[in-house]
């Protein structure tokens, strides 16, 4: 796909959206700040109270929400290419199920804080390895075999999750359900998500043109000079790792990973050289806005961010889908 005439217009729009989402998330809350106060706080010139509020409470959470949204959208875009299936999302191969079992296990054991993140991350990695090993089987590694293996493993995790919910005490049940719907309120300190996102995007971008070819089929990609085997294994590992980091950080937030790549295909086209950075910006912004709403609309109650994400994303996506005349 040749460079468009206004090559960076889409990028500018998405960057502005991301900046707006950040400003909104930092200014809005139980103690609203004006833009002036916000600038002072970010610059370190303000009173201690707003400075603490912005720098220690809101900014880390905003960065975290943005990075998780970016990771999920990026992972979703990669999974869709790997499986050549528009229904693929980051969780389709069971990564989130494994993470959930890990996280709920730590909650059941009465642990809290970073234990939950650690449990989720280990569960996600374990599930990734199981699906990878089983899907190789004796035959080749086809998208269908991978998909079916992943779905079967995910179903197994689903049963395990139900069992844990039944076994859980009333006290732990609430936090378990919140975790399952996706939630940023556990997260307090530094985040792994942003560096993983930055490194991941930079590592994936050079391969974006190869992804364009792989999206047309594996044999064709091979015939057009791509080393398909290493590329697909790399996509699988990278997308699973992104998902694992995201899920460990914030629980299984649905929808972003499925829908953001499609929103971009419907607006800026299917070229992965635009789609990948676009997914990071749009997915990050969407989740950041959703989290801002989740912690403010029913304040002092916090809503699960996954619910808000769907509330914004579903109508937006259906509108784009309905309006679309291009390839889909």
């Amino acid at each position: 796909m040749p460079r468009p005439r206004l090559p960076l217009a889409w990028l500018v729009v998405l960057l502005l959206l991301a900046a707006a989402a950040f400003l909104a998330s930092l200014a809005i809350g139980s103690a609203p700040l004006s833009l002036g106060q916000l600038a002072d706080a970010l610059g370190g010139h303000a009173d201690p109270l707003p400075t603490t509020l912005v720098m220690e409470l809101r900014l880390p959470r905003s960065v975290n929400a943005f990075a998780v949204g970016g990771l999920l959208a990026l992972a979703g875009g990669l999974m869709q290419v790997l499986l050549r299936n528009p229904l693929a999302d980051p969780y389709i191969l069971g990564v989130s199920g494994g993470a959930a079992v890990g996280a709920l296990g730590t909650l059941l054991a009465g642990l809290a804080g970073l234990w939950i993140n650690g449990g989720a991350f280990l569960g996600a990695l374990f599930s990734t390895l199981v699906v990878f090993a089983l899907s190789h089987g004796r035959g080749g590694w086809t998208p269908t075999r991978l998909l079916l293996t992943g779905i079967a493993v995910a179903a197994g995790w689903g049963a395990a999750i139900s069992l844990m919910l039944v076994l859980g005490s009333d006290a732990s049940l609430h936090s378990m359900l919140f975790w399952l719907m996706g939630d940023f309120s556990y997260q307090s300190s530094g985040t792994l998500a942003l560096p993983v996102l930055a490194v991941g995007l930079l590592a994936a971008l050079p391969f974006a043109r190869q992804l364009n070819v792989l999206a047309r089929g594996e044999t064709l990609a091979e015939a057009l000079g791509i080393a398909v085997r290493p590329l697909t294994v790399a996509i699988y590992i990278v997308a699973s790792l992104f998902t694992a980091v995201a899920v460990a950080q914030a629980g299984a937030i649905g929808f972003v990973g499925l829908v953001v790549p499609h929103m971009l295909r419907l607006t800026i086209g299917a070229d992965h050289r635009r789609l990948l950075p676009g997914a990071v910006l749009l997915g990050g912004s969407l989740l950041l806005l959703a989290d801002t709403l989740a912690r403010t609309v029913a304040a002092p109650r916090q809503l699960p961010v996954g619910v808000v994400t769907a509330a914004i994303g579903v109508p937006l996506f259906l509108y784009l889908l309905n309006r679309a005349r291009g390839p889909l």
């Binding site: 796909m1 040749p2 460079r3 869709q80 290419v81 050549r84 528009p86 050079p206 043109r209 190869q210 364009n212 070819v213 999206a215 047309r216 089929g217 594996e218 044999t219 064709l220 091979e222 015939a223 057009l224 000079g225 791509i226 080393a227 295909r265 086209g269 299917a270 070229d271 050289r273 291009g326 390839p327 889909l328």
Partner: protein
């Protein structure tokens, strides 16, 4: 791009326990038009994929311009050798122009974007198969025959010295079948490129091919000049169906039964 020279040395290919060919020697000089004929399941696709380096042969080797395929990077192979698959995957949604542009991939360096020249090549390829004007159409919105022509346009945009075409005429109407063969004839006669194509239509093969390779499905093969090999006796044996030839317009026409 000029013609590529493909050679097979003592090539033995097997699939699912059945031999496709044993100790096959092939030499495709620039300008060759080789037709591969055989029944369903005789191994035409398997042989083409082996010649494209997508499958390892049981024994023997394939050389491209004198270098064994196995020792060439895939991208180098793709710059010289284009494969039209019998039934490509649908893949994710894309427009007609985006799909044809995929053919330029092997010619672009790692960091490069498609240039205006690449787009021009893809548009020319689409025009050559009569898909000009449909560039922005979704590839999934095309008819079966149009879809086939888009696959052909993609391999034309790849601009290889050697075409390996798996049933290129499949799903094409008569007009486009002949148009395709005429196009390929120009590529071979004027530019010295070579074509290997599998066909089910004996008359198309007789009309277009300079040489013929028959796969009998049990490892036995027969190759030679089209005029020598395309005889009622050989064809009857190949298809296990009576094939007769009739004098036709200074040449011959083949009819079954």
């Amino acid at each position: 791009m000029s013609g590529a020279r493909l050679t097979a040395e003592r090539l033995s290919v097997r699939i699912a326990g059945r031999w496709v060919c044993r100790d096959l020697d092939l030499a495709l000089d620039p300008g060759t038009r080789l037709g591969v004929l055989g029944c369903n399941g005789a191994g035409k696709t398997t042989l083409l994929h082996t010649l494209a380096g997508l499958r390892r042969p049981e024994s023997g080797r394939v050389l491209l311009d004198g270098t064994p395929l196995a020792s060439l990077p895939r991208r180098r192979i793709a710059q010289r050798l284009g494969l039209l698959m019998q039934q490509p995957e649908d893949g994710l949604p894309a427009s007609v122009l985006e799909t044809a542009l995929i053919g330029r991939h092997p010619h672009l360096d790692f960091w490069r974007w498609e240039s205006h020249a690449d787009v021009a090549i893809a548009r020319r390829a689409l025009k050559a198969v009569g898909l000009d004007g449909l560039e922005q159409r979704a590839q999934t919105a095309l008819s079966g025959g149009e879809r086939r022509r888009l696959d052909i346009a993609t391999v034309l945009a790849q601009d290889p010295g050697l075409f390996l075409l798996d049933e290129p005429a499949h799903q094409l109407d008569l007009h486009h079948q002949l148009g395709l063969l005429e196009l390929l004839r120009r590529h071979t006669e004027l530019e010295g490129r070579s074509v290997v194509l599998s066909l089910h239509d004996i008359n198309l093969a007789a009309r277009f091919c300079s040489s013929i390779l028959m796969l009998f499905g049990d490892g036995e093969v027969l190759q030679g000049k089209a005029a020598d090999v395309l005889t009622p006796a050989n064809l009857t044996r190949l298809y296990r169906t009576e094939v007769r030839s009739l004098p036709w317009d200074g040449g011959r026409a083949f009819v079954a039964g």
